[in-house]
């Protein structure tokens, strides 16, 4: 009772309207537009329209960006659906998936050395970033051929060292993401045996916002959505301006126009707000989040004393809740994307 009171008090204390907001992003094909939009002053234009300011901050380390958001250092962050559930939501930070940017459609892959079938992974040591979407992809890949993680052993390896690790003879199987996949596949003997295009729509990249902040400051959500879809329209266009945008995003992520476009091919970008809104509302999201939460629960990632996958509630765009309705901490909404589609921003 006392904690509930304290919580509601803290909640209302937070409710003071804000003017200045911070968005954290990290390097990934689907999030590069944020930096470009900030540089082109598109973000500023939309923030000015709503009389607020938005600081777009690049964080070098993806997990660190989520941790900083969870600790309260940022109002919004770019992350995957899985990390959104396991880090901020399981940590009690009510988080709303404001924008569904894309889903991985081949960007994440299981790669074997000198073997060509997924079933050959049995008994091998598999190097991956443990508890990341790579780990999730591996679990889904194994399930597709009736194996489990007990049939192999997982070696936690930092993504920064993945390419170097692949070069050593003892590493024979890795699960990782682009641009690392592209680099590893280019070496002799590397075979892609499973990738995220075989589980389309399950690894979703989001721009997520603190729910409390969003509720008190809808202008923040509107400004983000406005800036995002203006950027999407430019980068997807077949004009010199669009090409220049893609080239700049490729350079900023350490590759070039061709490399960036290759990554975009393995990414199902939602360039149009109506497509994004339709995907956010689709029943597939519920099925995906069910897979994701049972993966997280099986691996002990839903926090202290979680006794079932239901412990953290997930609200879908149609208002249906997966899990504990009294502890909804992760929400999908199509509201802002729909507003963008309807030109109401």
């Amino acid at each position: 009772m006392a904690t509930a009171l304290a919580f509601s008090f803290a909640g209302s204390a937070d409710a003071a309207p804000k003017k200045d907001f911070k968005l954290a992003w990290s390097i990934y094909v689907g999030w590069m537009p944020w930096q470009w939009a900030a540089e082109q002053r598109i973000v500023k234009k939309w923030a000015d329209k709503y009389g607020i300011s938005i600081d777009v901050v690049q964080v070098n380390d993806y997990v660190e960006s989520i941790n900083q958001y969870t600790a309260g250092g940022f109002d919004a962050v770019t992350l995957t659906n899985m990390d959104g559930l396991s880090i901020p939501a399981a940590g009690g930070i009510d988080t709303t998936a404001l924008l569904v940017g894309d889903f991985s459609n081949g960007n994440d892959a299981v790669i074997l050395k000198d073997k060509t079938a997924l079933a050959d992974i049995k008994g091998q040591k598999v190097n991956l970033v443990e508890f990341s979407v790579s780990h999730y992809l591996l679990a889904r890949a194994l399930a597709s051929i009736g194996l489990t993680e007990r049939d192999l052993s997982v070696v936690s390896t930092s993504d920064a060292d993945m390419v170097a690790a692949w070069a050593t003879p003892e590493v024979t199987a890795v699960v990782t993401w682009n641009p690392l996949v592209a680099e590893i596949i280019a070496t002799p003997g590397a075979n892609k045996v499973f990738d995220s295009s075989q589980i389309p729509g399950e690894i979703i990249d989001l721009t997520a916002v603190n729910t409390e902040t969003l509720k008190d400051n809808p202008a923040f959500g509107k400004a983000l959505a406005g800036a995002w879809y203006e950027t999407m329209a430019i980068m997807s266009s077949d004009t010199p301006e669009g090409k220049a945008a893609r080239e700049a995003m490729g350079k900023a992520s350490g590759t070039d126009l061709a490399g960036y476009e290759a990554q975009l091919k393995a990414t199902r970008m939602f360039f149009k707000p109506d497509e994004a809104a339709a995907f956010a509302k689709s029943p597939e999201i519920g099925a995906t989040m069910d897979h994701v939460r049972s993966f997280l629960f099986d691996h002990g990632l839903l926090g202290n004393g979680a006794d079932s996958a239901d412990v953290v509630g997930i609200e879908l765009a149609d208002g249906k809740v997966l899990g504990d309705t009294g502890n909804v901490k992760f929400r999908f909404t199509d509201a802002y994307m729909a507003d963008a589609a309807a030109g109401k921003l």
Partner: protein
């Protein structure tokens, strides 16, 4: 009475020793309570009870996925790496240190080289180690050895150089060979000092161990910390940090005790000196 001459009595001394611990613990509890009041699921500063639950989960119950007691497995893996690396580093430190400190030819040939090598930041070599020695145990142990051994070599060489030359002359007039001087004059006086030096290197050794485990591992205390960092499990991280600190502290005390037992004359000399 001047401040420098005032001493606490035994009881006051104990209270003063405890005071900083109590202050830190108190500050933590206040901060934790404030954050938890705002968000009962807060992961940043977990309450003592969730630290206890994490300890219970990691140290006293088996992991449902692997059937292992994780903290035990991690501790064994880390201590094995640390012990192997420190044993190698001590052997290198003793042999090279005495050679450089005592034999002019070695000093001329290796002194400057070791001095330069000891300035190479070991962590910067980590990517090279992983490529040349693989991701297994060898490269982790090598990193600790590279980090610790040059300091031990230089310290032992300096200590050997500090030995009074009269001892060497006296031993030679009594007919001792170089080898006998090493065994009977240098080694007994160097060993207790090597222990001192090793005590100072325990902190860096842990640092290198944890850095190596952060990159590629299946077990180890550092591995677990970097793994659970992925979902901000500060309850596990803090439990492990306390455990690592305790292990390092016990290693330090153990070496101090060994030094006192094995070389009682050294402690006596230090007390009067």
């Amino acid at each position: 009475m001047r401040l420098i001459n005032r001493r606490p009595n035994a009881g006051a001394g104990r209270i003063l020793a405890l005071l900083p611990f109590i202050v830190v613990l108190g500050a933590y509890l206040v901060g934790s309570a404030a954050r938890l009041a705002e968000n009962p699921n807060d992961k940043l500063l977990p309450s003592l009870s969730s630290l206890g639950a994490a300890l219970q989960r990691m140290a006293f119950s088996t992991d449902p996925r692997t059937g292992d007691i994780l903290m035990l497995v991690d501790t064994e893996a880390s201590l094995y790496r640390l012990a192997a690396a420190l044993a190698i580093a001590v052997a290198i430190g003793l042999v090279l240190g005495i050679a450089i400190g005592l034999l002019p030819y070695f000093r001329a040939g290796l002194g400057a080289f070791v001095a330069v090598v000891s300035m190479v930041p070991p962590l910067a070599l980590l990517p090279i180690l992983f490529i040349t020695m693989g991701l297994g145990e060898a490269s982790k142990i090598a990193l600790i050895v590279i980090g610790v051994a040059p300091c031990l070599v230089r310290d032992v060489a300096l200590r050997v150089g500090d030995l009074p030359p009269q001892q060497m002359i006296k031993a030679q007039t009594l007919g001792a060979s170089t080898w006998q001087i090493v065994l009977r004059v240098v080694l007994p006086q160097t060993l207790p000092r090597l222990i001192d030096s090793l005590r100072l290197q325990i902190g860096p050794a842990w640092l290198f161990l944890i850095a190596a485990e952060a990159i590629a591992s299946e077990s180890g205390l550092g591995y677990r910390i970097f793994l659970v960092r992925r979902y901000l499990a500060m309850d596990v991280i803090l439990t492990y940090v306390i455990w690592i600190t305790l292990l390092a502290f016990l290693m330090d005390r153990g070496l101090a005790l060994l030094q006192r037992r094995a070389f009682p004359w050294f402690a006596a000399a230090r007390a009067t000196g």
